[in-house]
């Protein structure tokens, strides 16, 4: 009766369940069931063993928010030139789009594509620096998702569902593996512009304990809320106060040794105290050389915001942060409903050198072997125009790229149809992408479950299968 867990546990009776559980076949499920019987309490961040040997220690998710146009970046479609100005052929069927643009004419890519590196991977001239890393990239050209609108789609790319309320992938990661650095959050989110659409829902712990939610790092020297003591308390003052709190707690804890939570709370104050110095240190870029900063484009105002975040991401993964998510064009910057030329020129420029710099730097430091870098947005864009020179949302087919730990580089996987509208060969749903990312971190998405409202919930809901082609 050993089988992979679905979102429900396929046994016929409770008795049978416990027989199975007792024989060790269902250890994972049992622990999550116990979690349901007794709400999670206490210290939840202890490191836990992975399901299998991990290829990646950390993930840096470069989230191009708003929907970068795959057909203008990584998925060249000569057919669009041919059909430029004509309506979409009837064979593609009827579509509901976000802006009702499905009857608009096809628009050719305004950019030029070239093959790069030994692998001959196609990249457009919007991404010249990233193109130099072509042999390190695996481009997945056949992604698809369910949402039509940004907020649902950004939410799905983070949580698996277009409706808010589920845990984010980073939260699942901390839940599954615990933390590797007690002095820093395990899941960090940064933005380069406005708040991402949907805000905190995208790095929420959902129904998991709040401990697992992502921490939004702010720019500046106090990246975390309440990191600086109120009232300008000095370090000595704080230590003196904390030692008094500790003495109070010791008295209260007398005869309560069985209550591990009281002890965990005492320790949480010590951790918080250490975070006060570890947090600012982690984002203190004065420790980086000018050459490194230039590598990330920090010497140019156009590339400074994202370059700074990319460099901070490297520092964070060096310090054991497991999941770093960097929004580029946060607040839907890439959403090029009109004048895609100007829009994408801006955001490609903002991200090209910083991302290339990150790949170079990670490699030079030997970190690329243990860090998975993922690039993508919540969806791609349509082959037909909007307002003459823009493109509408396209969740039916779009591209993402993967580099680093556990990835088979220098290849393009899957295809969209001739006009780049829909994924055709080897379609990869968001759940498949999530399953693969978790796999590289050493987790089986089917075993990573949490009992919630009667269901053994998992990150991929009822879907997800590994994209083996991506794996080295």
């Amino acid at each position: 009766m050993l089988q992979k867990l679905q979102h429900h546990w396929p046994v016929r009776s409770r008795r049978e369940f416990f027989t199975a559980a007792g024989s060790g076949l269902a250890g994972m499920a049992l622990s999550s069931l116990m979690a349901e019987a007794a709400p999670r309490r206490g210290d939840l961040l202890a490191a836990r063993p992975p399901h299998h040997a991990a290829k990646a220690k950390s993930i840096i998710f470069l989230f191009m928010e708003g929907g970068p146009s795959h057909i203008d970046l990584f998925d060249p479609k000569p057919k669009l030139k041919e059909l430029h100005g004509q309506p979409m052929p009837a064979s593609y069927g009827k579509l509901i789009t976000a802006m009702g643009t499905a009857n608009n004419s096809i628009m050719a890519s305004p950019r030029e594509f070239k093959q790069h590196g030994q692998s001959g991977l196609w990249v457009s001239d919007w991404y010249p620096h990233i193109a130099q890393h072509a042999d390190e990239l695996a481009v997945l050209r056949s992604c698809w998702a369910n949402g039509l609108n940004h907020v649902g789609s950004v939410c799905q790319m983070n949580t698996g569902d277009i409706l808010a309320g589920r845990p984010s992938l980073g939260a699942w990661t901390t839940y599954g593996l615990g933390t590797a650095n007690r002095n820093l959050p395990s899941f960090v989110v940064m933005q380069d512009d406005k708040e991402p659409l949907g805000g905190t829902k995208n790095w929420s712990a959902g129904f998991l304990p709040a401990t697992y939610q992502g921490t939004q790092f702010r720019t500046g020297d106090t990246p975390i809320l309440n990191l600086k003591p109120g009232g300008n308390a000095t370090s000595e003052q704080q230590l003196s106060k904390l030692s008094y709190v500790k003495a109070l707690n010791a008295r209260f804890g007398e005869g309560k040794d069985d209550d591990t939570e009281l002890d965990a709370r005492v320790r949480s104050f010590e951790l918080a105290y250490q975070m006060q110095s570890a947090g600012p240190e982690a984002v203190d870029l004065t420790q980086e050389s000018e050459a490194t900063k230039r590598l990330y484009g920090m010497d140019d105002p156009a590339t400074l915001p994202y370059g700074r975040n990319c460099l901070q991401a490297r520092r964070l993964v060096e310090r054991g942060v497991r999941f770093v998510e960097l929004y580029c064009g946060s607040g839907s910057g890439w959403d090029a409903h009109q004048n895609i030329e100007a829009n994408h020129a801006k955001w490609c420029r903002a991200s090209d050198k910083p991302i290339a710099g990150l790949l170079t730097d990670l490699k030079a430091r030997g970190l690329l072997d243990e860090t998975l870098v993922v690039w993508g947005g919540e969806f791609g864009r349509t082959p037909f125009n909007e307002k003459g020179d823009g493109r509408d949302h396209n969740p039916w087919g779009f591209s993402m790229f993967f580099a680093g730990a556990g990835i088979k580089p220098g290849q393009a996987i899957g295809t969209t149809d001739e006009i780049g509208l829909r994924a055709v060969e080897r379609p990869a749903h968001v759940h498949d992408i999530h399953a693969t990312m978790l796999h590289l971190l050493g987790m089986d998405h089917l075993q990573l479950t949490y009992q919630h409202n009667g269901r053994a919930e998992r990150p991929t809901i009822v879907g997800g299968s590994l994209i083996h082609e991506l794996l080295a």
């Binding site: 429900h8 546990w9 016929r12 409770r14 349901e36 019987a37 007794a38 709400p39 999670r40 309490r41 210290d43 069927g93 009827k94 579509l95 009702g100 698809w144 039509l148 907020v151 649902g152 409706l163 309320g165 708040e195 805000g199 905190t200 829902k201 929420s204 304990p209 401990t211 975390i224 809320l225 309440n226 990191l227 600086k228 109120g230 009232g231 000595e236 003052q237 704080q238 003196s240 106060k241 008094y244 709190v245 109070l248 209260f252 005869g255 309560k256 939570e261 009281l262 965990a264 709370r265 949480s268 104050f269 951790l271 918080a272 975070m275 039916w396 829909r422 409202n453 009667g454 269901r455």
Partner: protein, 733 residues
């Protein structure tokens, strides 16, 4: 329709599983659907609760803990019922009352306090996924939904019978026409997160119905109906069909955000006066309309064009020809096609704008003729013309339509289609039937579920440990006879929640100490036998309210729109947080703080407040460094520590011993021992030179009494701050 194809392909994966099936023996024997029967307590000399608990303990040979000491008990009861700690005066009164009814008097006093509804109402708001905003991208404010929050508080405070409470929330408009509070109550089904500007409104409507179905199933029945959205429930006897049978009770609902609460007379007067204003402003309004026409038409067309054709047709169709589904689409689409003048005016420039502004100013001169706005609420009501047929959906996909179903209950209890009761004009009676079924004394689930919830909130653990899952995969009741005994009498004696509180709190079981005992702890580490009371951390709201109360800063003003206390620097608010709230308002109880789905109040977020997108029956109780950062570093907690220090200085005078003793009495509801006074004295001695070495100004109370050295007061502030950070304050013991 590619999106459709995708959904269908997901759906087809389940199609093979959806064949009808017979219920298994285990499902038929499922405890939660057996009738609730009157029980005979196993021991005659104990209270009924204690008798059932005693029998279990005895069966396992476990000796329960003795009663907690009076101070612990008083603090427990007070925090439990009101979310606030007892005052030193209340403590003194209780300690000096030697009568055997002393504790019963405390419980009665607490139940009569308006603070009670503010505490227990919050539990219900968790279940109702209450929020003051829509969620999704725009997260617009729901400007009048706070009336539902106040309704809940009031209902708890007046001990509204639970059956009536259920009926009002599910069918208030139908069962109690003309009752304003019952109309407010229908807001229960209005709390779904919503994206009002969605394009695919068929899908959106289905998502709302799913949300309502799931929440009604879990909140009132304690069942995981959501598991049957795509297929028959894998364990519980909830058929795929039953999910949609339940859903169809709500098929005719639509949002009414302008539901009036005024009496017919007040409405008439309003209308009469409105006519006066309309007449006086006829010309100027006509001019405004003409100035804004081009821009308005543009805005309407812009949104209209984005809809799929079927939805456009629902809007343009003549009302008498609209099908029920077209009515549903119409109700969902119209808010996207309706703009007030000010909104339209945002898009105009130059001369047009100047002309508009002039006219708008002129219109304003007639404001004295305008009647005062009537109170409105955000309700969920039915339009009998807008009840589309309900179908089983394959894989839960909105457009994978299967067999049609009629309203009905769990098939295992009653497989027949519903016979609708008589209903007022314009109503179908569907929800009346559901509410009556749920509140029928013979319903096996409703009373058990609410009684268990009350128990859960009192003990931190229900008799059924999974309060919203009474299914076969949920926890079994640890004391089934007790649950049935309480449930049976709960219904028999009038569905009174206060009565239930009283019975529970006066039991020995509730009063037990939370101390550890080696033998009992070994025999039953999970405390399933209730040999002791479960120590637990205060919820975020209680931590904040308790600090405010203890420091003497709490503003106990009740009701009204949500308030916006200042946020720590660096919290992104997307413009959704009012910045100019007065200090007085900022110090109101936590339940009145505006609940914005996309910007949860940071302190509550850190302390496990649920995220309001789904019903939450059990909060997590985590320990995180961000909680510690909040407590030890936030300016707000420091500010309240200043308040507490001021109060202590005012009450106790200048002697350190007296100060420490007073602070202990306020924070811990007990005097400081000699040992503790020494500990505090050491802190004074150690801390003072550290503060003297600071370069920044000292943090001291705003008004210092004469004779006190600022540095002494500054140490006291830090001492108070330390007490607020300590476990004895943060835990119900």
């Amino acid at each position: 329709m590619r999106a459709t194809l995708i959904l269908i392909s997901v759906a087809s994966a389940f199609a093979a599983e959806s064949a009808p099936k017979a219920f298994t023996a285990i499902q038929k024997r499922w405890w939660a659907i057996q009738p609730v029967r009157e029980q005979t307590p196993p021991v005659a000399t104990l209270s009924r609760i204690d008798a059932f608990v005693h029998a279990k303990l005895q069966g396992k040979g476990i000796t329960p803990n003795p009663s907690a000491d009076p101070v612990t008990l008083l603090r427990r009861a007070t925090l439990d019922l009101t979310g606030l700690p007892p005052t030193p005066e209340e403590t003194q009164a209780f300690l000096s009352d030697r009568s055997p009814e002393a504790f019963a008097k405390v419980v009665d006093r607490l139940l009569a306090s308006p603070r009670y509804g503010e505490r227990w109402g919050r539990h219900w708001l968790d279940l109702a996924r209450y929020a003051d905003s829509e969620g999704f991208k725009a997260d617009e404010t729901r400007p009048n939904i706070w009336r539902y929050r106040d309704y809940v508080i009031q209902s708890f405070n007046e001990d509204k019978p639970y059956n009536r409470f259920v009926q009002e929330q599910l069918a208030g408009d139908e069962m109690f026409p003309g009752d304003a509070q019952a109309l407010v109550a229908t807001g229960f089904n209005r709390h779904f997160p919503d994206e009002y500007n969605a394009r695919n409104l068929y899908q959106r409507r289905q998502e709302l119905l799913n949300d309502i179905t799931d929440v009604v199933g879990s909140t009132f029945m304690g069942l995981t109906f959501g598991c049957a959205r795509c297929h028959d429930h894998k364990f519980d006897p909830i058929l795929h069909k039953d999910y949609y049978r339940l859903q169809s009770f709500f098929a005719g609902l639509h949002i009414d955000d302008q539901a009036t609460l005024a009496s017919p007379k007040a409405q008439q007067e309003y209308q009469a006066q409105l006519k006066v204003w309309e007449k006086a402003t006829f010309d100027v309004r006509k001019e405004i309309a003409s100035v804004l026409k081009i821009q308005r038409d543009f805005r309407v067309k812009e949104n209209f064009d984005k809809f799929p054709e079927e939805i456009q047709a629902s809007v343009t169709c003549a009302p008498e020809k609209r099908t029920p589904m077209q009515w549903q689409m119409y109700y969902k689409a119209m808010p996207q096609l309706t703009f007030d003048d000010a909104e339209v005016a945002k898009g105009i420039r130059g001369d047009v704008k100047a002309a508009y502004q002039k006219l708008a100013a002129k219109l304003k001169t007639f404001d004295h003729l305008k009647p005062a706005e009537l109170p409105i609420t955000q309700a969920m009501v039915e339009d009998v013309a807008a009840i589309p047929s309900t179908h089983v959906l394959r894989g839960g996909a909105y457009d994978a339509v299967d067999e049609e179903v009629q309203p009905g209950f769990l098939s295992i209890l009653d497989p027949s289609d519903l016979r609708l009761p008589a209903a007022p004009a314009g109503k179908s009676g569907r929800r009346t039937a559901l509410a009556k079924w749920l509140t029928d004394p013979a319903n096996p689930l409703t009373a058990r579920v609410i009684v268990n919830r009350v128990w859960h909130y009192h003990f931190g653990q229900g008799l059924v440990a999974t309060p919203s899952d009474f299914g076969l995969m949920g926890a079994r009741p640890t004391h089934k006879e007790l649950l049935d005994d309480l449930s049976y009498r709960f219904v028999r004696d009038g569905w009174s929640i206060k009565r239930l509180h009283r019975e529970i709190m006066l039991s020995e079981t509730y009063r037990r100490s939370s101390d550890f005992a080696a033998a009992a702890g070994q025999a039953d580490p999970e405390n399933a036998t209730l040999w002791r009371y479960n120590r637990r951390r205060l919820e975020g709201e209680s931590i904040r309210d308790s600090m405010l109360a203890v420091s003497g800063l709490l503003n106990t003003k009740m009701n009204g729109p949500g308030v916006f206390p200042p946020l720590p620097a660096g919290v992104e608010t997307r413009g959704g947080w009012k910045r100019d709230e007065s200090l007085e308002e900022a110090r109101r109880r936590s339940i009145y703080i505006f609940v914005r789905r996309n910007t949860r109040y940071p302190m509550f977020e850190a302390f496990d407040m649920p995220d309001t997108h789904e019903s939450c029956a059990r909060r997590n109780q985590t320990v995180t460094p961000s909680q510690a950062l909040e407590l030890m570093n936030s300016e707000m907690v420091l500010d309240w520590s200043k308040g507490l220090a001021a109060r202590v200085l005012n009450d106790a005078g200048l002697s350190r011993e007296a100060m420490v003793d007073r602070a202990y009495r306020l924070v811990y509801a007990r005097p400081a021992s000699d040992d503790e006074k020494r500990l505090a004295s050491d802190f004074f001695t150690r801390h003072q030179p550290i503060l003297a070495a600071r370069s920044a100004p000292l943090v001291v109370p705003d008004k210092l009494p004469s004779g006190i050295q600022p540095i002494e007061a500054a140490v006291l502030v830090d001492l108070c701050h330390a007490l607020f950070n300590s476990n004895e304050f943060l835990y119900i013991n």
